[in-house]
Amino acid sequence: MIEEWNKVHVVYVPAMEKQAAASPDWAPGWCRLDSSSIALTFPLPIGPTPASVKTFFFPQPETLLTYTLENNHPDKGLMREPERSRDMQVVLGVRPCDARSVLLNNLPYQEDQFFQANRQRTALVGFSCDQTLSTCFCTRMGGSPLDSEGLDLALSRTEDGFLIEVCSEKGEALVADLELAPAPESDISALAARRNAGGNPSATELDSLKGSELGTLYDAPLWQSLGEACINCGACTFICPTCYCFDIQDEVVRGQGRRIRYWDSCMFPLYSLHTSGHNPRGQKVQRTRNRFLHKLKYFPDRFGPFSCVGCGRCVQDCPVNIDIREVMDDLIHLTAVE
């Protein structure tokens, strides 16, 4: 199956080792399946893949506009639409949490033509999680390790193979010409039973945050200690699948210019620094609080759901062991006391 896709599309799988940034279609943390390789297999880690899928939707960098600054050129300084790849890309090995993150990021990016174009040309082939890591908490955020939300094809392991669920038109096109055996009824019902058995009891518990007063959350005593611990490295924001803020810069090389958009992090002091020198979030504690409250309060206020899918990458990679689950527990406790 993968072999067939690889003939027509660009197929990416999670990378196990660090690769060099070489080719233009390079995606950090993912490697492109080589069409010449015979073994079309790839290792899939337990839990979320090392790099989130946001790299396919917000490439590092995304070219927004191109222009020339050559003197005497008739089009000097005129903005041009950048050339963008229209090739279909298939991403294999996406976990349900990452698939949900694409839907969440779609909320603020509804009218963003670059994001939408990338969504159109990317098919996500997901694998449900049979095992979860200790850092996984998707069930708390309203997800499930067996979810197919946001995926184009969802694969779940059965006793003697995979059960493929087609979740979108793109997914349908991917399997259209493949000779696949229809799934036995027993497997389908088994998956449905597993999904029902899961449930998510603590999702309602978190919902108390949505209705709570901003002032209560904002003045919580825990921010001071969190802010002091945090070293503002920004790792959490770069690995987070639902962090979507960016910076825009113009880049000119030998008279050819382009405007690029690339990831930024609200953890950096320069992020909100005004030209005048004033900084509304100049203190570390303010920045730490802003990140957590954006995920748990500001984003739900604006769009509805929490801006967190519970992949646990930030819990794994935080150099000072800040755990968003503990922050949530403390906040829930705080609102319950009120």
Partner: protein, 292 residues
Amino acid sequence: MNTNLECVQPVSGEEFEYSYKAEITNVYPLTRMEKLYQIQLVDPMERERFIFRPGQFVMLELPGIGEAPFSITSSPVRHGDLELCIRAVGNMTKFLDRVGRGTRVGISGPFGTHFPVEKMEGEDILLIAGGLGIAPLRSPILAVLETRSRYGQVDIIYGARRPSELLFDYEYAMWRQFDVGLDIIVDQAEPGWQGPVGLITEILKERIAKGQTDRFREGTSAIVCGPPVMFRFVCDLLIAAQVPVEKIFVSLERRMHCGRGKCCRCNIGSTYTCLDGPVFDYWSVLNLKEAI
């Protein structure tokens, strides 16, 4: 083999979004640091259709340098004949400082909320500006002056650091002709300065002491713009003078990159300065954290 996927129409079918092509038609030095740039949209149709309200801002784009938000200083009746008052302080504004008339630029917008001057008709208006805060305030000032008869008493209080840093000083006589109370105060006097010296709050206190409190309560809207530190002091005085909180409007400044609520950096709580601001009523400001 499966080629169905190529049928998925790429998004490029829709129009690609460019900024308006514009040109700097004139540059007037105002003070040592600030200049007034007159910028005109090149296409006359676009120029006519470019409608903005006082207090809104545009993104000014300089190819090769970047894009930055600036509040519009000109009157809304001038449509796409914009005026921007810009201080040369950062990377892009220092570049702007060196360019002359005829430079091609891009304008996108207008973005953001505006001062609701049309709702203030029949009322007294108090406009308070500190320093460069006069730049976004000149637009409502001109809008009010153009329909002067619809408003009650109009007062402007403007504070600057030094007399030489006063902006638009050539227009004050014209403003006064429209029956406007204009008070100007500076922090440091310079030779030749005959006006008052001190903080902007002193003038405001004087005004309040003069017994205007009744007028304030009955129907005065206040528009305030200045450096971040100014808002709290000025607005506290206004509230003490019984100006209703929801009738005090402030224009806040945040670093912005996209102007469309995507880059996230201008957020104040769950509001974005580029979408829900830059003009906020003081009631919202009091209910937001980190706003001022």
